[in-house]
């Protein structure tokens, strides 16, 4: 047992500790709070690098090292928690701490004017700690606990500008919607616990993801012929779908953009929303557990694939018709998370995780770029009122363009190309159906299109910020309450642009570690060593998919140029080119297929109705029964009273009067005069003597 495995817990513990201290600091202690958060994150980053190096050097066995501890005892067993170090953990640790660190630094600039600066860093650090806890957990229970705390910090940070009712509502919505998924997670977890007898993933052969437990789970079937492992897997996937914004639980993610932009970048693009994907990757042995040597994918993985495919297209279509710079990115995130799920479903852990990592970098880049734009435009978020920012914000533009091309999957030079291509290749060879492949390909086309649209709106043409009238806000409110609209966009300070440049570099370079020719990333996750072989491109199916996906990207970029680039957008009020072409479709997409309205009309109404019905039942039925019984009792009491006073008492009184009169009569005998007594005694004596004599004679 090396020290890094034993002390792996420090990686989440340091930020949590920093969060705790920062929470107790006074609001004016801005520098200590930020230093604590950033310092702890930097320390965690260094430790994560150590852990990564350790995994790199460790090729023995399955590459999984665990450290389990007892937590509490119930009955005769101890509930154990633990942490683990394997390639998956190591990769995620480095990604989260690195991206997190950059975003923390960026936040110093972005949140400069905010009065709750100290709280912001406390919440961010708590988030980072909980997220890192999710990553290192070797116990589904520990993972769930950190998962819920991640949900709490997401709530706190979405609602960070709490005075804004929209932010408050969005925060609540995010928590509730993800909790709906978490109920499935909870049930899946207790079911797994009951069947496996443990929630530790790996425990020297006794863990729930290890041989004997899985053999037990696949041997049993439950309703609909599902194997237990698939049934439990699907329940746990509910939790993943909630956190990762999969349809139909995606509705909270666009609203979550009410939070400060660094939060959107860190939590709602790079890390937390990817936690669902990570969860499925973590429990992949359970999801993929087969009975015997069957080759077709398990039902659980099929569910993951289909949900992912639907989400990928769903999110991408909606993103086409949004005007808020952050909401476009949010729906894009929904769509990309769908890709990751497809990747897990059709290709396995490495395929899904590669896209998770590349996406984390370029989507964080895009969000931070968007934040820089919003910051430079004094809080403006509506892309119709931007335009021409290329001139004012050159660094932001360059970085944003890199992120955009990576997200589109521009061939060869950008990381997104390789990771998306791998998903599509895997989907192409899926044994169940080709439909997810075509859905993914269509999504890729749309992605290139909506990103081109956004970039043309924001950076090309002439600036429309000044021309827009502020009396009639178009789409969104101003994000940052510390700002007042000034009419000249400006480049952001270095503390914000340097993280952008670093992320941009990674958005390009990361692709190199996962090409078909040198699939280092995939081999690393499988704990093998990778070999460089350009011959891999000639493997069947690789090149055709690469070429067709490249063509789709070019088509998307071209269509974007055709609609938005050919003629620069002149004024903020001009109608969108697509809206001119297809107003009906555009409206439906703009309103996100009316899913929110649908939920408001069904689930929310049902909920409100249930609440009202429960309260009504309480007040009128159950309490009514009690009231009736009590009135019945009171009624009986009244009748009883009537009988008492009217019947019994009357009789009693008259009886008493009779007795009383008799008493008065008798009282005459007891006047207290001795003569009377003597007289009576004398008479009685005479009577007694006569009686006795009479008896004697007889």
């Amino acid at each position: 047992m090396t020290w890094i495995v034993q002390y792996l817990w420090l990686i989440p513990a340091l930020p949590i500790l920093a969060a705790g201290i920062a929470a107790l600091l006074k609001q004016r202690s801005r520098i200590p709070a930020a230093s604590l958060a950033i310092g702890s994150m930097a320390a965690s980053f260094l430790l994560s690098l150590c852990a990564f190096a350790h995994v790199l050097g460790n090729h023995s066995g399955d590459g999984i090292q665990v450290f389990n501890v007892r937590w509490f005892q119930f009955g005769n067993e101890w509930l154990k928690l633990g942490w683990m170090l394997d390639p998956l953990t190591a990769v995620m640790l480095v990604m989260v701490t690195f991206v997190g660190l950059l975003i923390f630094i960026y936040s110093i600039g972005y949140m400069e004017h905010d009065e709750n600066f100290t709280r912001f860093f406390s919440f961010l650090a708590l988030f980072a700690g909980a997220m890192l806890g999710v990553i290192i957990a070797n116990s589904l229970l520990l993972l769930f606990m950190c998962w819920e705390i991640v949900g709490l910090t997401s709530y706190l940070l979405i609602g960070f500008w709490y005075a804004n009712p929209k932010a408050a509502a969005a925060a609540k919505k995010a928590f509730i919607v993800t909790r709906i998924g978490d109920l499935g997670f909870l049930l899946g977890m207790v079911w797994l616990y009951a069947q496996s007898g443990t929630l530790l993933f790996y425990d020297a052969g006794a863990g729930c993801l290890e041989g004997s437990s899985l053999a037990h789970l696949v041997a049993r079937t439950t309703i609909l012929g599902l194997t237990l492992s698939s049934a439990i897997g699907i329940l746990i996937f509910c939790g993943a779908a909630g956190k990762s914004g999969q349809v139909p639980l995606h509705v909270w993610l666009p609203d979550a953009m009410e939070g400060p932009t660094p939060v959107s970048a860190l939590i709602h693009a790079a890390t937390m929303v990817a936690a669902g994907v990570f969860l499925i990757a973590r429990i992949y042995p359970l999801m993929a557990a087969h009975a015997g040597e069957s080759l077709s994918p398990t039902v659980a993985l099929q569910v993951v694939t289909w949900v992912g495919a639907i989400t990928a297209v769903f999110g991408a279509t909606i993103a086409v018709a949004q005007y808020d710079i952050k909401r476009i990115l949010a729906y894009s995130t929904v769509s990309q998370l769908g890709y990751m799920m497809i990747g897990l479903g059709v290709g396995g852990v490495a395929v899904g995780m590669f896209h998770l990592i590349t996406h984390a970098f370029f989507k964080a880049l895009l969000f931070l770029g968007a934040g820089s734009v919003i910051h430079g435009c004094s809080g403006e978020q509506d892309i119709r009122r931007m335009g021409g920012l290329r001139k004012y914000m050159p660094i932001t533009f360059a970085a944003y363009a890199v992120g955009m091309l990576a997200l589109c999957g521009f061939p060869l030079f950008f990381s997104g190309f390789w990771s998306k291509d791998e998903i599509l290749s895997a989907a192409h060879t899926w044994s169940i159906s080709q439909v997810p492949f075509f859905m993914g390909a269509f999504g890729a086309l749309l992605t290139a299109f909506y990103m081109t649209r956004q970039v043309y709106y924001v950076f090309a043409g002439s600036n429309r910020l000044a021309s827009a009238s502020y009396d009639t806000p178009l789409a969104s409110d101003f994000e940052d309450p510390g700002h007042h609209p000034t009419h000249l966009p400006h480049e952001s300070p270095a503390v914000m642009t340097i993280p952008l440049v670093i992320l941009a570099a990674f958005a390009i370079l990361l692709g190199l570690i996962g090409t078909p020719a040198w699939p280092w990333f995939q081999s690393f996750l499988e704990n093998k060593s990778a070999e460089l072989s350009f011959a891999a491109f000639s493997n069947p199916g690789i090149l055709p998919v690469m070429i067709s996906s490249s063509l789709l990207v070019f088509l998307g970029l071209g269509l974007g140029w055709y609609f938005y680039g050919r003629r620069p957008i002149a004024i903020a009020e001009s109608t969108d080119a697509l809206a001119t072409l297809q107003p009906g479709v555009f409206t439906v997409l703009g309103d996100a297929y009316y899913v929110d309205a649908l939920y408001a009309a069904t689930i929310l109404r049902l909920n409100a109705w249930s609440a009202a019905a429960s309260a009504w039942l309480d007040q009128w039925v159950w309490n009514g029964v009690v009231q009736s019984v009590s009135y019945f009792v009171v009624g009986i009491a009244w009748i009883d009273n009537f009988i008492d006073s009217g019947v019994v008492n009357t009789a009693f009184d008259s009886g008493c009067q009779t007795a009383s009169r008799g008493g008065q009569l008798l009282a005459l005998l007891q006047g207290g005069r001795v003569q009377t007594y003597l007289r009576l005694i004398g008479c009685a004596l005479v009577a007694l003597v006569i009686f006795l004599l009479w008896g004697a004679k007889a």
Partner: protein
């Protein structure tokens, strides 16, 4: 079995009575002196309980600190007190809740000595109930506890206090009558009031035959006699917990009572009902409970779901927390009913029963702590607003009272069951244990968790978030004294959430014994 040189449990029960008398003797002249004296007595009881806690033999988990004296032999009345892990946990909870209630009653101005002496009397009744092992004096304490509670509501309550107090008193009395009649039937059949003796008879299957033998009414089958006797006892506890649909007294009693009293009602008195289920119904009547298990489970599920939804429909903070209390104790009952699902020695299921039983214990304690703290926050709020406590009266308080918001937020998330805080572990163990035993009921019960989240976050949203209501621009944040007083309660929430072994180490062996001994 630990023998203690002094009758420590009797001393513990007598201590608040002495305090009550002392308070009355102090009179109304110096109100602060009365308050501090009351607090001192309640803290003395806490210290005494902590001494018990530290001397408790957790390895055995059996009944300890026993005192047993013959009292009225022909009536089967013995003075028999002792505690196991469960009893100890309830004593500790009562000793924690009462000081909280006293703190939250600090603003009471009217008839101060009487108020606080009633509070201490109530505490004595709680101690008596949680230590008694003979029905005779157990029932005396059980009933006696209603008297101080009634007067606390009736004399210091809100606008509808008379009705609420009467309903509370009469409702629980009616339940108790069923309980009394059932135990008289048991006594007639067995000539004993001792819980342990009755449980032993039940365990050997001799209890109900004896009852049926004595009470073989015409036209009633023996099975029905057993169920009728059980139902009587069941009613007494079901009203007290309360179990749906016997709960309607609770919202008005909780909301009309002065908030300091509500803390005692929800923090400690509501546990008397659950305690009764565990100490009395489960050991003595489990064969009957098994017969009607399905309806019982439905009642537990209905309690959980309906009360959560009813809470969602309320505007008054106290009524929300009142319904939330019903909801939380519903989980305890779910676990208790799940435990009797199968009898026998299946090792895997026995493990689940240990989990459910421990979960129920923890949930009782956690709910007591969290609910008391939440009502304490309501009391603090009322003190600042002159009694306003509707969801619609506020908005944006976080702006002016960030510390208040933060600490009450912690308590709210504890009530919601957030991991890392105390509420989670109990609920997790309950679900972990109940799911394999009664999967459908447990699956439905998770709906309660969701609805709880909805109304809890609704409180945060309406009271603390959004634009600041201009009425409260000068709303004062927590004072240093309030922060210091609240800190232990909040700290305990974290401590139990992170290290539940603190409590489980003490109750686990008792839970094992309850499951093992009666082979549920």
């Amino acid at each position: 079995m630990t023998s203690f040189p002094i009758p420590v449990l009797s001393i513990l029960t007598a201590l608040p009575v002495v305090g009550a008398i002392a308070l009355l003797a102090l009179g109304n002249r110096n109100k602060n002196l009365v308050r501090w004296t009351a607090l001192a007595f309640s803290l003395a009881a806490l210290v005494l309980t902590l001494i018990l806690w530290s001397h408790f033999d957790t390895i055995s988990g059996a009944l300890q600190f026993q005192e047993r004296n013959t009292w009225v032999a022909p009536l089967g009345a013995e003075y028999h007190v002792a505690i196991d892990g469960l009893g100890l946990l309830m004593l500790l909870l009562s000793s924690i809740v009462v000081p909280i209630g006293i703190f939250a009653s600090w603003q009471i101005q009217d008839r101060v000595p009487l108020y606080f002496s009633l509070v201490l009397l109530l505490q004595a009744c709680l101690f008596g109930t949680f230590t008694a092992l003979n029905f005779f004096h157990w029932f005396i304490f059980w009933e006696l506890s209603l008297i101080p509670a009634f007067f606390l509501i009736r004399l210091w309550g809100g606008a509808n206090r008379t009705k609420a107090a009467t309903q509370f008193l009469v409702y629980t009395m009616v339940g108790s009558i069923g309980l009394l009649l059932s135990f008289l039937a048991l006594f007639l059949a067995t000539r004993t009031f001792d819980f342990a003796d009755l449980a032993t008879l039940a365990q050997h299957g001799q209890l109900m035959p004896a009852v049926i033998d004595k009470l073989a009414w015409r036209h009633v089958t023996p099975d029905h006699v057993a169920i009728i006797v059980f139902t009587g006892a069941f009613l007494g506890f079901a009203v007290k917990v309360p179990l749906f649909p016997f709960h309607t007294w609770l919202p008005s009693a909780y909301s009309e009572a002065p908030t300091g009293t509500t803390i005692l009602l929800t923090g400690a008195m509501s546990k008397m009902g659950v305690y009764g289920f565990l100490r009395i119904l489960l050991p003595i009547f489990w064969p009957q409970m098994q017969v009607v298990l399905t309806p019982l489970l439905w009642l537990a599920v209905a309690t959980i779901i309906f009360s959560a939804y009813a809470a969602l429909a309320q505007r008054d903070l106290k009524r929300i927390f009142a319904y939330s209390s019903i909801n939380h104790l519903g989980y305890c009952l779910l676990a208790i009913f799940a435990v009797i699902k199968f009898t026998g020695g299946d090792a895997a299921l026995t493990g689940e029963k240990y989990a459910a039983m421990n979960g129920a214990f923890l949930q009782m304690f956690n709910h007591g702590l969290t609910a008391a703290t939440l009502f304490w926050f309501v009391a603090i709020l009322e003190k600042r607003t002159g009694g306003l406590r509707s969801l619609d009266d506020f908005g944006g308080l976080r702006k002016v009272a960030p510390v208040f918001t933060g600490l009450m937020g912690i308590a709210l998330f504890s009530s919601l069951g957030l991991p890392g805080l105390n509420g989670f572990i109990g609920e997790f163990l309950i679900f972990k244990g109940s799911f394999p035993l009664v999967p459908w009921a447990t699956s439905l019960a998770v709906l309660g968790l969701l609805t709880t989240a909805v109304f809890t976050l609704g409180i945060l949203q309406r009271v603390f978030y959004g634009p600041l209501n201009s009425q409260w621009i000068s709303f004062p944040d927590l004072t240093t004294r309030e922060r210091l007083a609240l800190a232990p309660a909040i700290g305990l929430m974290f401590a139990l959430g992170l290290y539940p072994q603190l409590v489980l180490a003490v109750v686990n062996n008792t839970a094992i014994q309850m499951v093992e001994h009666f082979k549920f």
